[in-house]
Symmetry: C2
């Protein structure tokens, strides 16, 4: 038995249905089996390293022939060192505490009538990601750890690598007790389109890719989508902000890695601070190669820069470009962010705790920062152990999402023949007494 | 200033936008102000009782003229006694602990770099409910408590009552500091249709009503929907189930209140137990006026009943009707429920703890019961303090949903100028040390 791949409407539906069936078995496996399966995956990835390297070489050769840009070719490469890293990643996911069956609350409703709310897998998760083959290994590991079946769609450049990796991971897990079909691979954009219609089989879609691609997914499915389209992040340099800190945080937020969703895109500066701060901040950014676009008041202070208009407030550059606007007050900064931001990550640089508190409270974003870089908004840096993605939704998971984002829960009620009529008509009264949690055993 | 009502596309959009604006202010009010606003609401509902009674009399008179059925007219009535109950309900919501700003986790990422995850309101919640005016009072109270703006659509029979109640509640809360526009009322199905397109202003829709209506909502909006269409609940009488308990739980699950989503719709009986159990269970149900529809093997034991086919397995009767099927094994019972059920509430009656555990683990439903009635699946009985609805989704909230279902969270990071470059390139290492929770103050 191996992970299936291939396309067409019937095939995609068949594979989604297989994943749904497998998900039921997977959800009821013990944590020991899921962990053992992950360890087996790590062993097989190591044992079949040559086969994996060969498939990756095929992808890399094709990419070179087709003239793929050098940075993309670099991301595509999955050599011995990256394989070792990926295998270490699988082992670290295996070592995480079992997230499934955890007691979230437990309550005595009446004598002998005990209610327990426990985590469960969501069911079937579709993940759509980009070129790096390591992403497939990480996502499959997280799904297996959390008891979810997965349908994966990787970048077409990595087609051969993904096929081999999916097959090795699927088969290794099955050899350790995972149900056949728990991991499915699809390969074309057309098949993604078909998958998006299968809301009876797929519980959650997690797309990672360009803004346009994520937005296309969000606009074209009834399945819940976890993720974010834009990451238009702001930093507000308040009046009285310490210049050295203002410079350091602006430079780090903007330039530490420009092509990512938590990078700074618009800098807001309090009018009282602008004449003092903008020249030093501007100079520090210039040295890093950042081009500025400013509002009229910014350009009075930094006359050499390009003008910014409303379209800049709404743009995620993902490049060495930064929009700058001078605002008259904390209120105006908060209003700008809530109007133009994407609810991803926004920060304030200030020495005034009361003003910081207002900002943290009133800015309606998944992550809000005081005197720290927007670039910290990330599952690994937040200490979540692993990152599934970053969500700008207010439902389910918000901000950097760890393995918890792949979990749901169920309510389990155990009684001794208790009936509702006794409470509704018979005078019995609920005790509703909260109880300590207990272990991961159902009973 | 009063709660607005009235219709048309422009008006609905204007009101949704007003609710969004108000939601930002509401979300940053202190718990004290939200509680004081609820107390003011209780006072004003009492003070304006005559005005409320008059509007309700108008609705009741119109309902009688239009020949509305007696049970619906009874639900529409909002007399002195019901008003007192509703006011007591507002006061009990006011007395709940503040759900907003609660610390869900807190972690030191490094010295002086502290991450806190706190509950926040979701934002703007649209609730669509049926005829009872008391529902409006309860829903508005829960929204105010949790800091959410609301757009409400009540039953058209209760039009006059709803207008007065919305106006009294809105104005009373505003007098205590809530932002004008936090509560909006819309009145027609056409306006609901318009509302469903406004996903930039509305974060969550909670529909309560007929299966068809909920399904229509789910099929016609990109806004997340919390709720359930069907409640096809099962009870499985296992081999060796104690007859007295089997009878009591079947009768309570089916007949304690037939018109609700957690009432029993299909009874599954283990083949070994069927000859002994079905005659006594059938007789007890017959005495309660329940008509049975059975599979061929059920009809061998109870020859007088109507036949059931697959369409019965997929039907929520909400009536004195029960489908009955004999199954050969626990596996077959679980498979039937996962195939035909709606993931709402399903139970097993058995004396065998290991078989109970398999059922509780493998049945993929929001609530799973062992030796207790399906009718317990309810927010009040579960001890949630208040019920927003029951969800069969696996994302966000599942099963009976209390005020927590109206909450999201945000991540708050406070530092002293920390930058990511120091960790990525500079050799600094995260400590990732979990910290105790702390209080509801942001800083």
């Amino acid at each position: 038995m191996s992970a299936r791949n291939g396309g067409g409407a019937d095939t995609v539906e068949m594979r989604a249905r297989e994943a749904r069936l497998a998900s039921r078995t997977l959800a009821s496996l013990s944590g020991e089996i899921r962990t053992a399966a992950l360890e087996r995956v790590a062993v097989e990835l190591a044992r079949q390293g040559d086969r994996i390297s060969e498939s990756n070489a095929t992808d890399c050769t094709r990419a070179e022939k087709e003239g793929l840009a050098a940075p993309l070719r670099k991301r595509l490469r999955f050599d011995g060192g990256k394989q070792l890293q990926a295998i270490a990643g699988v082992r670290s996911v295996a070592a995480l505490a079992d997230p499934v069956g955890r007691v979230l609350e437990r309550r005595e409703l009446d004598e002998g009538l005990i209610l327990t709310r426990r985590t469960t897998p969501i069911g079937v998760v579709a993940m759509i990601f980009e070129s790096r083959p390591d992403a497939l290994v990480q996502i499959a590991s997280l799904a297996l750890k959390s008891g979810n079946a997965v349908v994966l769609k990787g970048g077409s450049e990595a087609r051969d690598s993904n096929r081999v990796l999916a097959s090795v991971i699927h088969d290794a897990a099955c050899a350790a007790g995972a149900p056949p079909g728990w991991l499915q691979l699809i390969e074309t954009r057309e098949d993604v389109g078909r998958l998006l219609a299968l809301d009876t089989y797929i519980d959650l879609v997690i797309p990672r890719g360009s803004n346009e691609f994520v937005r296309y997914i969000m606009d074209n499915t009834r399945i819940p989508v976890m993720g974010h389209a834009d990451g238009i992040c702001h930093l507000f340099l308040d009046r009285g902000a310490e210049p050295e800190m203002a410079v350091a945080l602006t430079v780090d937020s903007k330039t530490q890695y420009v092509a990512v969703c938590n990078a700074l895109e618009t800098l807001l500066v309090h009018a009282d601070a602008a004449p003092g701060l903008l020249p030093v901040v501007g100079e520090a950014l210039r040295k890093k190669g950042v081009l500025l676009r400013g509002c009229p008041r910014t350009r009075e202070i930094l006359p050499g820069i390009d003008p910014a208009d409303e379209s800049d407030w709404a743009t995620e550059y993902l490049d060495l470009l930064l929009a700058v606007r001078v605002v008259d007050s904390l209120d105006e900064a908060i209003a700008h962010i809530n109007r133009w931001g994407s609810g991803h990550t926004d920060g304030i640089v200030t020495g005034d705790a009361r003003r910081a508190e207002r900002f943290l409270r009133e800015v309606d974003s998944a992550s809000v920062m005081w005197n720290s870089s927007t670039r910290f908004a990330d599952g690994f840096r937040y200490g979540l152990g692993a990152e599934v993605g970053i969500s700008t939704s207010r439902l389910h998971a918000r901000g950097p999402v760890g393995v918890e984002g792949l979990l749901s829960y169920k309510w389990i009620l155990t009684g001794r023949g208790h009936v509702v009529a006794d409470y509704a008509e018979g005078g019995k009264v609920f005790t509703h007494r909260d109880l300590p949690g207990g272990d991961n055993e159902i009973l």
